[in-house]
């Protein structure tokens, strides 16, 4: 199912990585952020929504990277370059990520930034949309968000252009040791 997901997500121009452990994913992430110019300065910060899926040790390792912040505000998100969030599910056939985005920080870090990095449990892989919709109760997830690849448009001369109002890159980290979504 992961291979199908990866192929579909890459077709939608997302970047997909798989890790056995959250620790390995966070090491990768620290390197990725540095390479892409994370810094404790406007337009260069990385904002992490929640973070309860990380153990305290791993969380403090990530927090040690200069420019990485955990408290999400509207203003902070508007000037962040990177947004990091947890997404509960991945749909194999379309390469889609899904999350309960009712907590507003989850929406802010995935909609205002240039680069969105999503932590996804391998246990959250589902075959398709119908299997997701059977699992979620919209009355308990007021803002159900589905994300497939980066923001895109073809409104000028039908030329596909990536990154309009949302992120121009979507980095997906599929992780084996994250617990399955409830």
């Amino acid at each position: 199912m992961f291979d199908t997901f990866k192929a579909a997500a890459e077709t939608a121009k997302a970047e997909v990585w798989r890790f056995h452990t959250t620790e390995a994913a966070v090491s990768f992430l620290a390197g990725f952020l540095s390479e892409n110019g994370v810094a404790d300065a406007p337009q260069a910060t990385a904002l992490c929504a929640g973070g309860d899926w990380l153990s305290p040790e791993i969380r403090s390792r990530l927090a040690a990277v200069p420019g990485v912040r955990f408290g999400v505000t509207r203003e902070g998100a508007a000037e962040a370059k990177f947004g990091i969030s947890f997404m509960e599910w991945a749909l194999a056939d379309t390469g889609t990520l899904a999350q309960d985005a009712t907590p507003v920080e989850r929406r802010l870090v995935s909609s205002l930034v240039k680069i969105h990095i999503a932590f996804v449990p391998a246990a959250g892989l589902l075959p398709d949309l119908p299997s997701l919709l059977k699992r979620v109760n919209p009355k308990k997830a007021a803002y159900l968000a589905l994300i497939t690849g980066p923001s895109r448009t073809a409104d000028i001369e039908r030329v596909l252009t990536i990154g309009v109002h949302g992120p121009e890159r979507l980095i997906i980290l599929v992780i084996d040791d994250l617990p399955p979504p409830p």
Binding site: L129, I156, H165, G166
Partner: protein, 711 residues
Amino acid sequence: MQTAFKSSVQSALHNANLTGALGKFSEAYKVNRAKAYEAIDFEALRSVIADRKSYAATHLDELAARFTENAIALGAHVFRANSPEQAKSYILKVAQDHGVKTVVKSKSMASEEIHLNAALEAGGCTVSETDLGEWIIQLAGQRPSHMVMPAIHMTKEEVSDLFSKEVEERLTSDIPRLVNVAREALRPKFLAADMGISGGNIAVAETGSIVLVTNEGNARLATTLPKIHVALVGIEKLVADFADVAPILQALPKSATAQALTSYVSIITGPVPNTDGTPKELHIVLLDNRRSEMAADPQFRQALQCIRCASCLNVCPIFRLVGGHVFGKVYTGGIGTILTAWFDALKASEDIQGLCIQCGACKEVCPGKIDIPGLIMELRRRLVKEQGMPFIQKAIFSAVNNRMLFHGMLRAASIADKPFVKGSFIRHLPMFLASLTDGRSLPAIAAEPFRSRFKKIKQPSCKERAVFFAGCLIDFAYPEMGEALVRILNKAGIEVLFPDAQTCCGAPARYSGAYEVAAQNAVDNIEALLSDEAAYVVSACPTCTAALDREFEQVFESLGRRDQIAQARALAAKTIDFSTLVERLVNEGCLTLREGRALGAVTYHDSCHLKRTLRAEQAPRRLLRKAGYDVKEMFECDTCCGMGGSYSLKLPEISAPMLARKLKNICDTGAGTVAMDCPGCVMQIRGGFDQADRTVQVRHTLELLDEALAD
């Protein structure tokens, strides 16, 4: 047709940006759509959608009430607006009650339908469209030309001019740069806006949810950053259950833009937290605007099964030539014609319904399974009923309905057109008729029609009999095709009968909305064709075959003449198209194709009625291959050639470029012969090659088989 409408068609046809962009898109769309649906059973999927949407259309009030109850229980405000005025004043009041100064909007066709922006601006709000295409249109002060791609008619240079003015900086026409300009110009508007307005692709009664489908991410920002969210949703977007969301979401992006799924789908169920922790002020406006009346109309109810994917625009061979602006209203293309007739008035569809050539391409791809061409025909019928037919048209059809007069006129024409005939073609007609031979020669009317020639044919004694329905073109323009058919059936041991009382199949009248005339044609033909005992009624014209096989019944049904339906069915039961019959005879061993012959390359043009009404497009291909032809498929083999019966006479300026495209696709195969099963297509394509001075043989399948059958 109104002259203003004709001139808007003319200017669209001469707009190279528009026709270029749409033409390229429509070609790519077909391929990409097929790829997007590769692993999916489209027929099964659209049956589910049609079923769920049809249930909703018959339970609108009940679903609206359930939706309202559920959404209100979660803390949303729901308002059902019967008219555009009610919707506008409600939204304006919400804005004024909350001191709203600025509004950001994500794409909503319903808001365009009611001209919401103008109302809010008149009330003192500043409104910014945020979908890139819609923003371009707003800056240009135009209307969208396509439901999914609003600015497809504009070039990057035009966009760069607009943006340069807006940001007061001279920009180049580099597209990624222009897109970035839009991001940067709109971002502060999102952050400052007091209200976000969205449409809604689906509204779920069971849960009170609104589903938003976008690619750019603007709907996510518009529903997250401002403290007030207003969703304006047409009531036809209601579905009963949350489970109904999945099939619609599976089809919508694939049919709209050939994507597996759009970048973003947001399912919003009740108010969500704002960035300051307060709950969102969520208002959902359910817009009726005559949708309930539509639901109460047994024929038009199915139009509410539309999911607004615009695939009917994308596959339409006319839309890609004229674009959306000629439709004059917010909704465009096939479904737009129908919606305009209801949301505005039947009269508003008078000109635009005439754009439909009835090729049926849209019906094949509609994920809501709407019979769009059928509903456009019904609009035509109602327009004629309400306003009567133009005088000249009426005069023509009353002649067609008088067989003796009609046939007499056709014979007189064969003498009258002599001065214009060159070989077997009319290349130029004088004065106001000149446009009829623009890009296409017309066939000369035969000196002796088939009905006279038939009497001279000596047929062998046969065991079986078949009634031949010639149709006007074979009878009066191509009698040799009729003679070939008699030879072929005689070889199979079938005697051909030709009842003299047969007349026009009624298609021209029906396609003009003159159902009473078509019904009289049906009555006359049923009587003529059933008067002899015969195993088959065979026709070599798919339009006529379709008339005999199903449209007679539909015409009686539409007119409420139920007592005549049994007779129509009796005729339909015997009716068969030429190629299907011949293939059956070959398979039964009654006919034998000469063996071991290599007859060279031939390409095959699918006639609309043979492929999409009769679904018999494989029989001629198999027969041609069996005869020894190498069938080389052309690009867009099943795209209409632009004939469409009287369409090519009413809108020759549209018919001509459709034909030019067809000729090019035929030539590109390199085959020296193109085969087809419809004498109307033969007339159009042969006439086109004659005028283009190209030597491609244009043959009816029966002419090729006539040469290939053993004695």
